[in-house]
């Protein structure tokens, strides 16, 4: 997983490169939450282009980030497939 914060757009770009399951989401969640609290982005864009496998843990992870952004008063989480 790679993440880049785009200062000008206040956007956190998260590119996921591994298979998404219960095991891998733990690490991703930690890294993304870390980035959210550090950069306070206005928007997160998830890029799933390189993802070859995802189960319900992935849905939980994305919904969790969405809720976190809402809680912080940010509006948007985008998914790019």
């Amino acid at each position: 997983m790679n993440s880049v914060f785009l200062e000008r757009d206040k956007t956190l770009l998260v590119e996921i490169t591994e298979e998404i399951d219960h095991h891998t989401t733990d690490k991703m969640r930690r890294k993304i939450d870390d980035d959210i609290t550090r950069y306070m982005p206005r928007k997160i864009i998830f890029d799933f282009n390189k993802v070859s496998f995802m189960d319900s843990a992935g849905i939980g992870m994305v919904i969790g980030r969405y809720k976190m952004m809402n809680m912080l008063g940010r509006n948007n989480t985008d998914e790019k497939c």
Partner: protein
């Protein structure tokens, strides 16, 4: 090949989350002898991943245990049985409901059984509280090869005449 093809495999592994990928890839490799499409293979992988994840986080609640998989092939149907000796499911009806999760604090989506049911042709759950859970799933792999063979045969016949 002779009429009815039968095969079987058994797999046992520790209830560690890094074995989830191992389990689904192994079952997919076993299923590949039925010549599934990429989509059918992805369905099987996802369903296995859901069941194994359930055993690890709900059955054993991340403590030590063994997850067992028995997979059988009859003709062109694959049957996958995933069992654990964990804590069992109190209310199977409720567990099957979409979006229901007993561990909402863990950011689970509650879609596990729903995904298994929609990706596989048949899913049955047997569970005894305190003894464990067994999930049996079946999927028919549609043979495309045969259709192509027939087509080729038709073409050959046409060419001959």
């Amino acid at each position: 090949m002779n009429g009815l093809y039968e095969n079987e495999m058994r797999l046992e592994f520790a209830s560690k989350s890094n074995n989830e990928a191992f389990a689904r890839i192994t079952v997919a490799a076993f299923a590949s002898q039925l010549d599934p499409t990429i989509e059918e293979l992805a369905d099987i992988k996802t369903a296995v991943s859901e069941a194994v994840t359930n055993s690890i986080i709900h059955g054993y609640e991340n403590s030590e245990g063994t997850v067992k998989i028995i997979s059988k092939i009859f003709a062109n149907t694959i049957e996958i049985e995933i069992s654990d000796t964990g804590k069992g499911i109190e209310n199977i009806e409720l567990a099957r409901k979409p979006l229901y999760t007993s561990k909402s604090n863990l950011e689970r989506s509650g879609m596990g059984f729903t995904i298994m049911e929609s990706f596989m042709d048949e899913v049955s759950i047997e569970s005894v509280v305190g003894l464990g859970t067994k999930i049996t799933m079946k999927k028919l792999i549609k043979k495309q090869e045969h259709q192509e063979d027939e087509k080729e045969l038709d073409m050959a016949e046409l060419g001959g005449r």
